[in-house]
């Protein structure tokens, strides 16, 4: 992050649906034009803007991203890339078509430790990986909740209709924003949406975790509109090239893998365990950038393989370098769309309550018609991608 400040890029416009947020930035960015509606901002300032940074709630990532790319602007977008699988594929295709520099905000991608861990796994240090456990302490916002019944007035300084954007119309309530949008189907992607792009980042890159055969979820306290208080989601991946079939389990809301998985170690709030033919790899935090080879006695004096991946000048710096014609950033949208699709398949299983037998070519959950709505969520009238 600090390396980015050194980049000294010029902020020419800032958009937010809350006037108070903009007001606080006036002093620091006196020359930046302020907008509540990004469509207006991009249209009016297209000649001045080279690149956009999108950190809106998940349901409003895709529209400004595509609009900006169509205008030839480079795009940095927070994780997860999109709210729906359809949107993820549209962003991937737009980035390819318009040849702009892209980067998703899973900033752990820039850590040398993450890249080394990928190299260690790919070098076969623990042999074929057949089992993977990933867990997170999320949600740290309300989930498993019902739509509030009271309808307080919309605050004067909030553009509620623009906050809703493409989502179905609903009355204003402070339960939805500024922070708690993550728990609602219409705005967020729940615990796995917030964290999987971080926690699964290393494993995804090392093990090509796309196109599972089936995804199943066990949810606790889910409602019709809100993600569950906790869940366990299992993915079954087929043989992928030379990689053995693999079963991945995601845990959230305080649930964790069995304690004996790590020989009695206390499991922290988040982490990853890879179980291979010749040992285990344990990464004890959100970012998958540290690794412990187990059993430790078997790996005494272990030397990692020679680096095969480039090391990063910093996550934002990489993107800025790409904007100026350099190498594509490490979390560009081809990667970002793929990892986002994998995590959103978990949400399909959570929301529908049914196993998702995934047909990637047709972008369809086999024999699960109620998944269709969530795969390509319809937009409110007046909004389009």
């Amino acid at each position: 992050m600090r390396s980015v400040a050194k980049e000294k890029q010029n902020i020419v416009a800032i958009c937010d649906t809350r006037d108070e947020v903009l007001a606080k930035l006036t002093n620091d960015f006196p020359d930046a034009k302020q907008y509540a509606d990004y469509r207006r901002m991009l249209t009016k300032m297209r000649k001045q803007i080279d690149a956009v940074v999108i950190s809106t709630p998940d349901h409003t990532h895709a529209i400004p991203a595509v609009m900006a790319m169509q205008m030839g602007m480079h795009v940095y977008c927070e994780k997860p890339l999109t709210h729906s699988i359809y949107e993820a594929r549209v962003l991937r295709d737009a980035a390819r078509k318009y040849k702009v520099a892209t980067q998703m905000g899973n900033q752990g991608s820039a850590l040398s430790g993450l890249r080394e861990t990928v190299e260690v796994i790919k070098s076969g240090a623990i042999g074929q990986v057949r089992e993977l456990h990933v867990w997170s302490n999320r949600p740290v916002w309300p989930q498993g909740v019902h739509r509030p019944k009271d309808t307080p007035p919309i605050p004067d300084n909030l553009h509620w209709d623009l906050f809703l954007g493409p989502a179905p119309k609903r009355p204003y309530h402070p339960d939805y924003q500024p922070f708690n949008w993550r728990g609602w189907f219409d705005f967020g992607t729940g615990a796995i949406g917030d964290m999987d792009c971080h926690t699964l980042n290393t494993a995804f890159r090392a093990l090509d975790l796309v196109n599972p055969i089936v995804v199943k979820a066990k949810s606790n306290d889910k409602t019709d509109e809100s993600y569950p208080k906790s869940s366990v989601i299992t993915y079954t991946f087929p043989q992928r090239g030379n990689l053995s079939p693999l079963k991945m389990t995601w845990y959230d809301g305080g649930l964790k893998p069995p304690a004996d998985l790590l020989d009695g170690r206390d499991l922290p709030g988040s982490g990853v365990v890879y179980i291979g033919e010749k040992g285990k790899i344990y990464s004890p935090d959100d970012y998958g950038a540290q690794y412990i080879l187990m059993p430790e006695a078997d790996f005494e004096g272990y030397k990692p393989p020679s680096p095969t991946l480039p090391r990063s000048p910093g996550h934002y710096a990489e993107w800025i370098r790409a904007c100026k014609g350099g190498e594509p950033a490490f979390a560009e949208f081809d990667f970002a769309a793929a990892i986002t699709e994998t995590l959103l398949l978990g949400n399909l299983a959570v929301i529908t309550g049914e196993p998702i037998y995934w047909d990637p070519d047709n972008m369809k959950a086999i024999n699960c018609p109620k998944a269709d709505y969530w795969i390509n969520r319809p937009y409110r009238e007046g909004w389009s991608l």
């Binding site: 080279d50 999108i54 950190s55 400004p64």
Partner: protein, 65 residues
């Protein structure tokens, strides 16, 4: 008729034509930014994770050519 063609105009125009791909590849070179040029960045959603202060620092207004 003296309207300057910016890089973005060029990209958009090229992308709309059938010959887009080939031209685009070259356009990247032709319109590439020198490494020391400052990008003009717009921020969409300014209260959350993408804290603008951590991305960019304010600079004096500059004239774009």
């Amino acid at each position: 008729m003296s309207r300057q063609i910016t890089r973005r105009d060029f990209l958009k125009g090229a992308a709309a034509t059938g010959a887009g791909l080939l031209i685009l590849r070259d356009s990247r070179m032709a319109f590439g930014y020198p490494a020391n040029e400052t990008l003009n960045v717009a921020v969409i959603g300014a209260s959350g994770k993408g804290d603008v202060n951590s991305i960019c620092v304010p600079l004096p207004k500059r004239n774009r050519t």
